[in-house]
Symmetry: C2
Subunit: 293 residues, 2 copies
């Protein structure tokens, strides 16, 4: 079984958790009815992107794993006989929270978790306030549809993360994401940012000979007190192991992006481009330095 049918759920979010989950569930059901055996949700899909401001009360949005959402999605995975990749604000202990992807197996159990390792902090993306950097390492999650190299958003800019997943045998690289434009930015800057986002992830596909599946949200979300806004740029996409675009969503609409992936192509591509063979591991030691000064 080298053919995998996957679905990426690109949606907008509101302040109403139940509304968000209900729409996610509806799209997951439609994806499964269309033949998807793997369904991937975007980053932090149960809420708006709350990191536009730093507010202690927003930790109320977090939940444990297992917890209400992972249990509900596990039941849905079991009912539909699919694997679901979800992305939750994890409450691990009082004062200890993570940005965590959780993978639900076809039997409804939790196949594994990934806690976002690289945490951004930029104007409008104040994640270092909310999320403790992950401590589960770069470890693919084993499922009935393959070994999933699940990473989250900011991780997507780091070739090291993709490589470590590939070296650990990941069959797919998966990025739930919440990224968008500052509406105040100029059109050419917006274009460069969005294109850079596509390009660097397609680059991971090329460098590792693996498909990449990236799921982003859509919609304009205002920060509280008129303190800016983010126009999430959607554009969820799937690239093949040569970085070729297999499917791509719009920049502004909710949609289910269906894709058929032939996993055997990764081995074919790695045979003509055997990058893993020639890595100079004897000379890579200083990659663990902050800077080589």
């Amino acid at each position: 079984m080298t053919i995998l049918t996957a679905a990426l759920i690109q949606q907008h979010c509101t302040a109403d958790r139940l509304d968000n989950l209900t729409r996610s569930e509806g799209m997951i059901r439609r994806a499964a009815a269309s033949g998807a055996s793997l369904v991937i949700l975007q980053e932090l899909h149960t809420s708006t992107y709350f990191c536009q401001v730093e507010s202690p009360s927003l930790f109320d949005l977090a939940e444990s794993i297992p917890g209400p959402t992972s249990t509900a999605l596990g039941a849905l995975a079991a009912e539909l006989n699919i694997v679901i990749v979800a992305s939750l604000f994890e409450r691990r202990a009082p004062g200890l929270y993570h940005n965590t992807a959780v993978v639900l197996e076809k039997d409804g159990t939790i196949a594994g978790k990934y806690r976002k390792m690289h945490i951004p902090d930029d104007p409008g993306f104040y994640e270092k306030f909310y999320f403790t950097p992950g401590d589960l390492g770069f470890t693919p999650i084993q499922t009935s549809v393959g070994s999933l190299g699940v990473l989250v958003c900011w991780d997507q800019w780091y070739p090291e993360a993709a490589r470590l997943m590939a070296l650990a045998g990941a069959d797919l690289l998966i990025y739930p994401t919440a990224i968008g434009w500052d509406p105040e930015d100029r059109a050419d800057e917006k274009e460069r940012q969005c294109d850079a986002w596509f390009t660097v992830q397609r680059g991971h596909a090329v460098a590792n000979g693996l498909p990449v599946l990236a799921v982003n949200r859509v919609g304009l979300e205002q920060a509280p007190r008129g303190d800016g806004a983010i126009q999430f740029w959607g554009g969820s996409f799937v690239a093949g192991p040569q970085g070729e675009i297999l499917a791509q969503a719009s920049k502004d609409k909710e949609e289910i992006l269906m894709v058929t992936i032939d996993r055997s192509r990764s081995e074919t591509v790695r045979r003509i481009w055997p990058f893993l063979r020639d890595r100079r591991i004897d000379e890579y030691g200083e990659l663990v330095k902050r800077f080589r000064d």
Copy 2:
């Protein structure tokens, strides 16, 4: 002086070393006359791409560094008051050869060498027969036009190489290259290969917030005894620190690709996308493993 004018010399090559060098020199002179202070030649520009076959007699093409070509190009650099990046088949000792980039300073001296670290070996690209893997590490070369992260061809597929150069303070990533299509391949495969080549290098620009300058040859080169051919795809290009294309050459013509680079943009881009700040160096140790099994 944050503005740098650079020129990439994209040319075809023949079996006649003097012919190749004479055309290189003519284009270097025109580039300098147009204001270039940095001129970059393609990989192994003094000969055809001889690695299409394995033949001991072809080691005769190698020369020492310093040697005839580096001396001639050094004199030209001094005359024109420019920095030149050349790419030579280096004879280091009998039976010990490298694929070496050499950088000539404005005073004609050798600023530094880089010996290609990742050596390919694929049908038509039998480089492991000719080139001992480099032993000078991933070390930028300091010049009057900046710290040059010079890498060579196959290196361009390795995010590790680009990152190590960036961590060592490189201002630019530079890739002399000889890459092309098997004329027997289908059009869609050719398109994917060429696009992957652009994409992975633009990805290095994005991941490291640095300009990338890649110089490739053009022309159809037949292997001896009718044993295949390579259609070199040209397409030399310069990307800015968000991976944006600043200049791009044709796929089939000799040309001088001139570009103006504002080096201050790298710091601007790294301030909005501070990837170096958030690298999880505590978790990158296994990048020095061949595979994590």
